[in-house]
Structure formats: C-alpha cells, structure tokens
Amino acid sequence: MATDGEVLLGLVEEFVSGQQDSKAAAAARGVKTGQFKILELVEALGLSLTSSQPQTRARGVQLLSEVLRECDSGLSEKEVEVLVAFYENRLKDHYVILPHVLQGIKALTKTPLWPPGLAVSVLRSLFRDIHVQSLMLVERSCVYSILINLMEYKEEELKGLGADFVFGFVQAMDSERDPRNLLLAFQIARNILLRGYELGKFTEELFEVTSGYFPLDFTPPPNNPHGITQEDLIVALRGVLSGTARFAEFLLPLIIEKLDSDVQKAKLDCLQTLEACVSVYSYRELKAFLSGLWASLRREVFQTASEKIEAAGLSALSALSACLSRSVLDSQGDDVLHVFLDLVVQDCQHHLCEPDLKLVWPSAKLLQAAASASYRASHRITSAVLPKLMEQYISETQCAHRRTLLEVLQGFVQPIQSSVPLEGADENVFSAFRESLCNVVFSALSESNSGLQVAACRVLASLCQQPGLLLASDVELAVSHLTRLVLEDGEPQVSMAVLECSRALSFLHTSTFAAIMVPRLKGEIFTEPMAQDDGPSPKALRERCMTALAAVSNQPGVIRESAPVLLEVLASSHTGTGSFAADDALAACRSLQRIVQQAPDVEDTGRFFHDIIIPRLLGLALQAGLWRGVSPPRESPLAEEPVLQALVPVMGMACARLQPQLSAVTAARVVSLFLDGDVSFLLEDGLPSGLQLLRVQHSWSLSQLTCLLMACVCSVPQSVELPQLERLMAELEELSCTSTYPFCYTAASKCFAGLVNKRPAGEALDLLLDRVMGRICSELDHASSSVRLQAFTLLLWVTKALLIRYHPRASVLTDKMFSLLTDRELGPLVADGFSVLMSDPVDVLTRAGHADVRIMYRQRFFTENSAKLVQGFNSAEKEMKPGYLKALSHIVNNLPRQVQLSELPALLPLLLEALSCPDQAVQLSTLSCLHPVLMESLPASTLCLQLEGLVSHLLGLTSSPTMKVRIASLRCLNAVSHFPEHEVIPFRDRVLRALAPPLDDKKRLVRKEAVATRGEWFLLGSPGR
C-alpha cells in the first residue's frame, strides 16, 4: 500500500508541479485497475487543492477532473457525494479553476448515483455563482451537458426546483451563438417543454430566448468542421417552438410578421414551423390569429415564385384545417372549422369564376389543400365549390378555359383519404354531385377537342377511384365512351389518356370491361373492312383495338376474355380466313406479350396460361411449320421468322410466370413434344404424332420451332427438373452444330446455353462442357470445316451462359473468343460477338427467365480481360487491329457510366485509335463512350495530353458519310470546348475553320449540332463568356 501511495504522490507531484500532462492518464489507469481509490487521489492532492496559488489549485482540480472523466463508472455513492460536495464548493473559486471544476461536474453527472438533494443544490450554486455567458465556448458546452445529464437522471428533483430551473436555463443560454452549443441548448429547451417542467411565469422568457433565433439563418464555415448544417439547427429550433401550445400567443404573431420577409428561406422556415405548430395546437390558441394567418398564407401561395414555398404554404393550410377539424364545437354552436373554411372559400371561389381564369390555379390549390385535411373540411368545401365549378364549365365557351376548369375539377375529385367517411354512416362527399359530375365528364368526352378529352379521361379515372361513388350504370356508360374513343382515330395524346384511364378503370370494374369493351373491340377486329376509300385504315384500327385489349387486361376476369380474342386473331391469320396479314399477327403477339407481362401473379392466370395460351400458340406454330413442308406448301404468317420471334417473349414470359408445379408440367410436355413428338396436349386437329422436331433438319420450317422450345425450357425456374435433360442437350448440340439455317442454329445454341446456365455446377456440367468444347474447337480449328460459323455461335452463347454466372470455365472460353479475333474468316463476327457477351439479351439468359445472372458481371469481365485485349491489339497484325478496337468499343460501351469514367482515361490511346478505324459502327460506339467522359472533364489532365490527337480525329469525323457519326463527333467537340481554357484555346481558330463546312451540311440535325458547337468555340477566350 505504502508503495502505491508513494507512486500516487509521485504522479500528483509530477502533474501539478512538473506540468506533465501525461501523468493524468497514468493516474486514471491506476484508479481504473484498482491500484488506488479515487479518495486516495483526493488525499494525495490535498496540498495542491488547498494551495494559496490559484494556478496550483487549478492544476490539482484538473488532474482530479481528468481522472474522473476517464473513470466515471467505478464510483460509489459515497465517493460521488464527497466529490460533488467538493466541486460545488469550488464553483465559487478563482476563475482559472472554473473550467476544470465544470469538467469535473460534467464527468460526475454521467453517473446516476447522486444522493438525493445534491443535484438541486449543485444547480442552485451553478445558476447563482456562475455567469454562463461570460464563459468560454467549451465551458458553456460543459454547462449544457451538465443540464442534459441531470435532466436525464434527476428529472423529479429538478422539477422540484420549479420555475427556477427554467429561469436559470434561460439566463444561461441567453445570447448563445455557437451552433454546437445551440443544438444542446435547443435540446434542453425541448426537454423542458416535452417532459412537463414547470414554466411558471417564465413561459415568455423561454420563448423570447429561443425565438430570438427564428427564422434561423446560419451559413456553415467553408469546410464545415463540425458538420452542423442550417437544416439541423432549423429542425432543432422548430422542435422547441412547436413544443408547446403555450407559446402560441407569442409565436403566431411572430410567424405572421416574419412571413413578410423577403428572404425565401425564412418564408419557408416560417411556413414549415407553422405546420409543425398547428399539429399540437387547438382552436383556442389559433382563434385570435386565424384571419391573419389565412391572409399571409393566401398571399404566399398567390404570389410566390418558388414551388417549395407554394408547397409549404399549402401543407401549412392543410394542417391548419386539420387542427380546426379536431376542435370540439363550442357552446355557441359555431363550428369554427366552418367559419374558417367559409373565409377560405369566400376569398378563393371568385377566382374560379373570373372570366379570364386569372389566379385559378393558386385558388384551386388552396381550396384543395384545405379540403384534404378531413372529411368535414372536404364536405364543406366541396359543397361550396363544385356546383360553381360545374356551372362555370357549362357556361364557358372557350375550349381552353373549359379544359382548365376540368383540370381544376380533377384536383378536387382526386381520391384522398379525407373524401371517404370514417364511419359507414356518412356517404362519399361527392355523392350529392355524382350525376352532374358524370354529365360534365361524359359531355367533355363527347367533345371533339383533344385537350378536353384528355382532361375528361383524367377526371373519370379519379372519379372511379372514389369508393362507392359511381353507380354500375355510370361505369357502363363510361366504358362505352372509352370504347368509342379507342375506335376513333384520335390524336396520340388522347389515345394515351384513354388507355391510361381504361387501365385504371379495369382494375376496379373488371366485369364491366369484360362484358362491354372486350366484345365490342372483338367485333371491330373481326369486322370485314368496308370499302377502302373512307375512314381510317382497317389495319390501324385493328392495331388500336389490340393495344386497347392489352391495356385493359390486368385482372384475370378480363384476361380470360381478351387473350382468346388475340389468339383467335393469330389463328385466323394462320388459316387465312379474314383479311389478316403478318402485321396483324405481330400486333397480336405484342398485345399478348403485354398481357402476360402485366398479369397478376395468381393461380387463376397461371392456370389459364398453362391450359390455353401456351398449348394454343405451340399448336398453331407447329401446324404452320407442317403446312410449309407439304406440297404444295401452304403459307401461314406463323411460319415466318418475325412472327416466331415475336412469339418467343410471349411464351418465355408465360412460362416464367407459371406457378412451380404448372411450370414443371409445361416444361415436361414441351420437352416430350420436341423429343418424341408427343402432341397429345395440343388443341389443334390433325397433327402427326411421333415427329422428332429436333431431328427434322431437312425442314427448316419445323426446326425453326426450336426458338419456342428455348422460350419454354429456358424460362422455368432453376428448381424445376427437366425430363430427359441429357438427351435434350445432346440433340440441341447436334442441331446447333449441323443445321444450315442461321435462325435454327442460333436458337439451338441459345437454348443449349440457357440450359447450361441453369445446370448446377459439378462433374456432370464439367463433362458436358469438355465434350462441347472439344467439338467446338475441332470444328473451329479446321479451316475447311463448313460449320465453323455454327461452332462459333455455340461457343459465343455458351461463353455468355458461363460468364454471367461466374463459372470458372468462362475464362477459358473467353480466351478462345479472343484468339478467334485474328481469324480471317470469323474475325469481324467475333468482334461483334462481344456485344452479345456484354449486353443483356431479351429472350434468353434473362433474370426474368430465372437465369443465374450475377451482378456486375460486366465490370468483372472488363477487369479480367481489358489487359488481354490491349495486349492482343498491340501484338496483332495491322489488318487485324480493327477487330480488337471493335471488341473494345463494344465492351466499354456496355459498362456502367461510373466504371467508364474511371477506366477510360487509361484506354484513351486505344479509343482514339478506334476513331480512325474505318468501321462506322465502331466510330459511333466509340464516340458515344467518349462523350460522357468529355462532359465530365474530371480526368481532364489525362485527356489534355491527348488533346491534339483527339481534336484532329473528331474534326475528321465531322465529314463522315454517316449522319450519326457527324452528330456525335460535333457533340464531343462541343464538350471539348468546356475544357480548361488555356488547354483548348490553341485549337480555337483551327476548330472554327473546320466547323464552317458542317454549317452547310445537308442534314438539319447535323447543322443544329454544328451551330451549337461552333457558337461555343467562338465564345472561347473572348470577353463575356
């Protein structure tokens, strides 16, 4: 013990007299490890604490405080009592000691072990003996922290101080200016308000001392060392001001006054604070200020130049109205909400009726904001405004004005919470106007003005979403109006609005659409066109009908009606009955695709796809393929490539969206159809069974159906096990390597790749890959082989399949691809193949089709292979270089922007090389890579070194024979003009001269870019830029 005591004395001595600050940490360690007790430290400090020299005393207290800061947790209640009493006593001491005393108290307040009564006495001394505002920043912060800590642990005791506590605090924070301390002070003030401290007669003082900062204006220093923003302070202050309703009488006049400010931020702050306040206020507080507040709000919304202020004003009004809606009716029976809303209506309504519709929008927005607050408010305003609006609409003659009125109307009928009553007893606020609203909408729909029609469609959509408003008969009428508009050859924006509205309505009124619109559209589609001379072309009409069918098919009820119509279109274009052409079949496919995409994920639709759509499409396509094979061949659009290609996404999407057990059944059926010719599940008659579709290579019309096989089996989830997988893959491999029809072997390769992608990693997959790679390589290595193209296609797709799932074999295949870049025959194709590797295909290997696609596979590919590419480029013979450049530009072009920006500077020499490559596709894709980099001009330093080459290449391309290249190079030149002036100014005269010819380009789009770019270069280096 004795040695410990001596050690301690030594430490104290060295700290106090020797001024060695590090000894405090040593002492703290000692206390923490239990080497000495805190009271022993006090004893050891004895002499320093009682010294007559304030400096020495300060040093002593400092040591104690620092030790306490380190070890605030290990104190006993007794120790705390002694220490607090000591520190309290020291508060009166010399000013140099004070900072350390405050630090010590702050450290002690972190423990809740204070004996009762001590907190009150410390606070009393604190408030009595210390003038907080004359302290330094750090000490003030200490005082606030002490208050916060004590409020945390000693709430009851502090409340016992009564209003004295508030008074003490108000005095302490008066004229505080530091943002960090203000945040603490606001926190204390908010705690005072929220935790129910007694304010006594100091309510106004507390308000005064905090509201002095309102509206808050604070610009952080340039580098903002403390990370405190104006927004932080505003929110903290708002928390205080809106903390209690007792501030209302002071705050509301202040807000009204400050709203007059010219500073936009101050206005915004006022409005947002008002919104926050009224959520805690009641009518009693607001009563005296309602008209003043309304006048200010109205002025702000009417006259504002900023959308933010307008929005803030509107939500403040809405909050105000909500607050009044909560108020209980007073004894006189005056409904305060009604009184206020009448004021709003009175001031706004006449603007809705002015003949020139000046201020109609701000007024409407104000009314809508007030109405949105509650059911009662909504009711009051609606009943006052709607009749006037509709009356005005009917009497108005100008279309533009009527349209504006309709748009205003739509704002009112927009479905929001408040228009629906809370209890079932009340009805929808619009019920009383149902009939007249419908009349207005339907009459507008019948107008010939497109603007009116569009606006009416929007109103109708809103009306329908009001629960329980429209009657069944109204909906029926609405649907027939919409049907009529679909059939009319209207302007594009009308068609879009009609479809939009139909889509919204069909969600809610499925059966009406299935009963009225679908049969009507079906009738139109199958009506034999009249004489060609009058009316819109029948093809366009049919296409509109099919688009509309797709648009309304978002519920099972409609899909069951609409999809068969489209299938029937396909069937009759297939059989040649009716006057359908391949275009109609394509349109039907597009609509079916849309339906399959937007169908809800329910058992019902899955079953429908499985039972009807998939078998029917397969059957039709099969029959069409067979017809081509007989002699004489029978034509059918379904045997044509574009239609089959359009069918692929329909089938793929439908299979991908099936429920698991259904998708297993479908996949099994399709596999047995293609392998064994099992046609039992198809609905068409007269299909031969036992036909092995993957082996009928002599008949391209049948083997091209492989694309449908691909659509099905490559879209099922990975968990679904395909039957006869080995055999299927072997036959696909055979077909892809032997077929002579590009469409067939490409589909077979894709299908094979899709299956490879989903096979679990392991020995089976490795063996399969070994076999395929062996075959591919042997074909490719034989320069005389007739199926090198086929082998390459298979290689490309298998590479893609492995690449996107990060399979380790991918790199081997990629290297094979790179080595083929120098192949004389395949080189250009290989270069283009890299765009397949890097882009997302639409029909196979998609995430939607449950393929195994890892994120960022492109970046990975790029990092792994860019060096190889550059190396290959450098070592390649001259005539092979373009292939590398093309591959590079495909790869880079598909990378995400961010990666491009960071990687491009390193590749710049190569890209510049690519600009001189004669292939225009390479030029274009390189220019489109370069443009964002040039715009960013961040890596300007690297670019500047190459500037000479860059400018020369770009100028050369402005006379390219391809319009798009000319445009892109001009855009890049425009971006270059924004480089640092000293870098580009040497090129100014040359660029200006070179840009004169493009001003006379034969294409207007090129001239437009040339004018813009030349203008920028002219401004370069001259005054006034």
């Binding site: 130049a305 201020l359 109609v360 929008w361 437009k1008 203008g1015 001259s1022 006034g1024």
Partner: protein
C-alpha cells in the same frame, strides 16, 4: 447595361415558346437533303437570352395566364430566376413569320421587334442577332437584319448601322461591346 436601363420596360408581355421542332422521318434519313428554312434560322435566334439587354428585374404577379397554368408559372418563375433569363422568342423580339430564308439564293432576312418603340437596346439586339447568324450560317449566305417597320422610333438609323459591314466589324473590336454581345449569345445558362 447599367442598372437604369434594365428597368426601361419593367413589365413586358411574355409569349409562349413554340416548343421543340419535331424531328421528321426525312430528317433522320441519310439520303434526304434538308434545306435551310425559316424555322431553322428562327430556332437559332429564338433561344438567345436577353438578360443583359432588357430583362426586367421587377415584375408584379400580373402576367396573363395562358392556356395551361404550368406554362405561365414557368414563365413567371423564369423572370424571377436570374439563371433563366427570358429568350428573344419569349419576348416576341423574333418571330418565325419575320424570318425569311432562301436557301437556293443564299439569303436570310430577319426582322426583329424591339419590346417598346423607344428601346435603347435595339442596336445591341440587332447586333447580337447579326453576329449569331454570321457565326451560325454558311459563308455563302447574305444576311440582312433590320427592325420590323414601324416598331421603333429610330428605325432607320439602327437599320443603317446594322447593314454597314465596317461598323459591325468595328463594333466587335470594342471589347466592352463584344462582351455584352457574347453574353447575349451564351445560351448555356438559358
């Protein structure tokens, strides 16, 4: 250019923009040659900002709302926002019907209308238009810029100045004048 002249016409009428010229199929066709036409030259001029010469910096909320609220609001806002000065089109200084282009004969004629008959900035506006056209059209064009007849008090004098090649060239030697003109030609901020 000084504060006083800015307020000359503090409350101008504001006109709606005619919107982007839609791109036609012919324009996208490589083989088709599009002649330079009125609209094209108008589009070059329409976007030029006017803040240096005549944008008011005070405007009461009395702008007549047009067809749709948002357009008007946009216009009103663009007045208050110094970063989006009004364009020549929005003040109706240039109109498509007052631009005459003959591609074959290589002539361009532009009539511009000062916002008020005694607008002291008319020469400057004319000069800006002329310089913009010189920079934006092929050399072969003969460019004629003048004030719409009967819309300005000093019409003749201004027209004469604008037609005089020497004086235009001399004006552009003056770096202060060039600065103002360049500022009017800087469409980046607009």
């Amino acid at each position: 250019m000084s504060g006083g002249t800015l307020l000359e016409n503090a409350n101008p009428l504001i006109f709606q923009r005619s919107g982007e010229r839609p791109v036609t199929l012919e324009e996208e066709d490589e083989n088709f040659a599009d002649p330079i036409d009125d609209r094209e030259v108008f589009d070059i001029l329409a976007v030029l900002p006017t803040d240096q010469v005549m944008t008011p910096n005070v405007l009461v909320y009395a702008v007549y709302p047009r067809d749709a609220y948002h357009t008007t609001l946009h216009l009103i806002r663009s007045i208050n926002d110094p970063e989006h000065p009004l364009s020549l089109e929005e003040l109706n200084v240039v109109e498509e019907m007052r631009v005459h282009v003959n591609d074959q004969a290589s002539t361009v004629g532009v009539e511009f209308t000062p916002t008020i008959p005694h607008c002291s900035m008319a020469t400057l506006i004319g000069l800006s238009i002329k310089v913009k056209l010189l920079r934006s059209l092929p050399d072969r064009f003969k460019i004629d810029v003048h004030i719409t007849p009967g819309t300005h008090t000093a019409e003749e004098a201004v027209n004469k100045q604008l037609a005089d090649k020497e004086r235009v060239a001399a004006a552009l030697e003056n770096s202060h004048l060039l600065e103002v003109v360049n500022h009017c030609l800087n469409t980046k901020s607009a």
